[in-house]
């Protein structure tokens, strides 16, 4: 490879990516940020620049924690990084080559270090009827508020659990949307189980106060909240018409044209899997996270990770981890020495600890229910792309499919357009239950390039840096 174009290529412009870019520029690294979105912000601060500057009415709805992201965008912009917006990464190589496309032609970016700040996604919520039009994730409804100033026009049922569920309900109330019900899978037993974590969480007191205030505002707006529900299903044939759930042994039905599902967020591991990094299983929150060393280092010398893609700790912790990882990268390149690292990293280390303090409580309180992880009803669709049901997966498991990769040969599960993003966790959980093993032993889908589809025309028009004939074809990895 000819000499890399940049010291650092950052993938993703959410809180971790933006903060890392800012910090890296401050210590003199050359930085490119490759972002699938059109504007910096990631999902949490999506379109915050537009909203902060031009859409005051939406800023009021979305709140101060969202507005905070504008400072990060501003910091990244001021650092004069090369910002490749609207660029989808489709392969990353261990030696620092990143292959991406702007939608019309593929290109290659080379860097001494690559920082993956690819964030999180909402956990898929496979319940009967979840593929019906009218059903989307709670985060999707929030994206509509952030990027389009849109809200659902009829009654909404919000179902599931987690801090984001409450935040989005609070925002929808302020936006004037009609919430028919908030049906929480969180029960009194979850509160009891989480109670021992409360003392540590008090160190992050402002998180607890915000949560309590949100719940109070939602109740004050007259929204019906039902806690400790189970057996959730979505009604309707061609469109969602409402939800049915059980509470205290009694079934309730609520009419709603829009159903928002949410059971927390999980790291998006497509890119780290494609790099063949080791992944670990989070026993409480039931997700995979890539194994990292100190400040985002990995088993690969050129590859670093930061933010919620390494485990769910929230936006503020992600931002700080981006800064620490950028400093670690500068140290590894010899651009700062140990003394400068310690001086700059010190304050961030204590801030990181502060923002992580509440997490054990949240992880224990908002555990995804067993019936979401391993859908008990055979007809529930698990793989949305190939329309494979929980019953199909169980049957293939009993026929001998030992893990997710063998399952592909039986069912094509995970082989549709989403490449297993929507069914991966569920398939692992179902097979773990069938074989009486832990998900950690069952494993996950092997992820191969391209990480996202690209057309042959985009590939054929690829820009290759001058004087390097060896780069005509990306290697597909082991």
């Amino acid at each position: 490879m000819s000499s890399p174009q940049y010291d650092l290529a950052i993938i993703g412009a959410g809180p971790a990516g933006m903060a890392a870019a800012h910090e890296a520029r401050n210590v003199g690294l050359s930085v490119v940020v490759i972002d699938e979105q059109d504007n910096p912000g990631g999902q949490i601060y999506r379109d915050v620049e537009h909203v902060a500057l031009k859409r005051a009415h939406d800023l009021d709805v979305l709140g101060a924690d969202y507005k905070y992201g504008y400072g990060l965008v501003d910091g990244m912009r001021a650092g004069e990084v090369d910002y490749l917006s609207g660029h989808t990464v489709w392969q990353i190589e261990a030696d620092g080559i990143v292959w991406c496309t702007d939608g019309s032609k593929a290109k290659q970016v080379t860097a001494k270090r690559v920082l993956l700040a690819t964030g999180a996604m909402e956990r898929p919520v496979p319940v009967p009827g979840w593929t019906l039009p009218g059903v989307m994730t709670a985060g999707a409804a929030q994206i509509l508020m952030k990027s389009a100033g849109m809200v659902p026009s009829g009654p909404i049922a919000i179902c599931g659990s987690g801090p984001l569920l409450l935040l989005i309900a609070d925002q929808l109330v302020r936006a004037g949307a009609e919430i028919a019900v908030i049906a929480e899978t969180t029960s009194f037993a979850d509160y009891l189980r989480a109670a021992p974590k409360l003392a540590q969480a008090l160190l992050g007191m402002e998180y607890l106060q915000k949560g309590i205030a949100m719940r109070r505002r939602i109740k004050a707006a007259g929204v019906k909240i039902v806690s400790g529900i189970s057996g959730l299903r979505i009604n309707g044939d061609e469109m969602a018409t409402g939800v049915t759930f059980k509470k205290g042994g009694r079934e309730q039905a609520v009419a709603a044209g829009t159903v928002l599902l949410h059971e927390g967020v999980v790291p998006n591991t497509q890119a780290t899997r494609q790099l063949r990094l080791d992944h670990l299983w989070h026993e409480t929150q039931h997700y995979w996270y890539p194994k990292t060393g100190l400040h985002g280092t990995t088993a690969l010398e050129s590859i670093y990770l930061a933010g919620d893609g390494t485990g769910i700790y929230g936006a503020r912790a992600a931002e700080v981890s981006g800064r620490l990882t950028a400093l670690q990268i500068a140290l590894s390149l010899g651009r700062i020495d140990d003394g400068e690292f310690a001086f700059k990293a010190g304050p961030w280390l204590s801030e990181h600890k502060h923002h992580c303090a509440v997490r054990p409580l949240l992880d224990a309180l908002f555990q995804p229910p067993a019936e979401i992880l391993n859908p008990p009803e055979d007809h529930t669709i698990v793989c949305r792309c190939e329309e494979i049901t929980a019953g199909d997966v169980r049957k293939a498991g009993k026929l001998g499919a030992p893990g997710p990769n063998q399952l592909k040969a039986f069912l094509r599960a995970g082989m549709g357009p989403c490449q297993g993003r929507m069914c991966g966790l569920t398939v692992t959980e179902i097979l773990a239950a069938v074989h009486g093993k832990s998900p950690a032993d069952i494993g996950a889908y092997r992820i191969r390039p391209p990480l996202k589809p690209l057309s042959l025309a985009e590939l054929a028009d690829m820009e290759v840096p001058d004087g390097d004939a060896t780069l005509a074809s990306p290697s597909s990895g082991p």
């Binding site: 699938e36 979105q37 059109d38 999902q43 379109d47 537009h50 859409r55 009415h57 939406d58 709805v61 989808t88 939608g103 996604m121 909402e122 593929t131 019906l132 039009p133 009218g134 059903v135 989307m136 994730t137 985060g139 999707a140 994206i143 509509l144 990027s147 389009a148 100033g149 849109m150 809200v151 659902p152 026009s153 009829g154 936006a175 004037g176 061609e238 469109m239 044209g257 829009t258 998006n268 949305r384 792309c385 190939e386 329309e387 549709g416 357009p417 989403c418 993003r421 929507m422 996202k452 589809p453 057309s455």
Partner: protein, 99 residues
């Protein structure tokens, strides 16, 4: 199914399945089609079941549409622009030359 809270953003002229539609600057194609159609935005290649965007952040691939002649684009990742032509995809595609 969706409504715009305010109408001060600039109007963008697009077409959806040949019909002239007004969208707003900054909206994704998926949001504009959902606001217009309020129902299924495609039917699946496997069973023909109706579907609509689920995640709106580029991971679920439920919002696939034909945009300016290119099929299977993630409509949630592309913003509307003047003159854009959008077609909803119904079922599996026919091979070229099929009747």
């Amino acid at each position: 199914m969706l409504k715009r809270r305010h109408s001060d953003a600039a109007v963008v002229q697009i077409s959806i399945d040949g019909e002239a539609v007004e969208a707003r600057d900054g909206e994704s194609v998926a949001a504009a089609v959902l606001a217009y159609a309020g129902e299924a935005t495609r039917t699946t290649p496997v069973s023909g079941a109706p579907r609509a965007p689920y995640c709106l952040m580029g991971v679920c691939f439920e919002c696939l549409m034909e945009i300016d002649g290119v099929p299977n684009r993630q409509a949630c990742m592309i913003r509307v622009s003047d003159g854009m032509s959008i077609r909803r995809q119904q079922g599996a595609r026919a091979l070229e030359g099929d009747a």
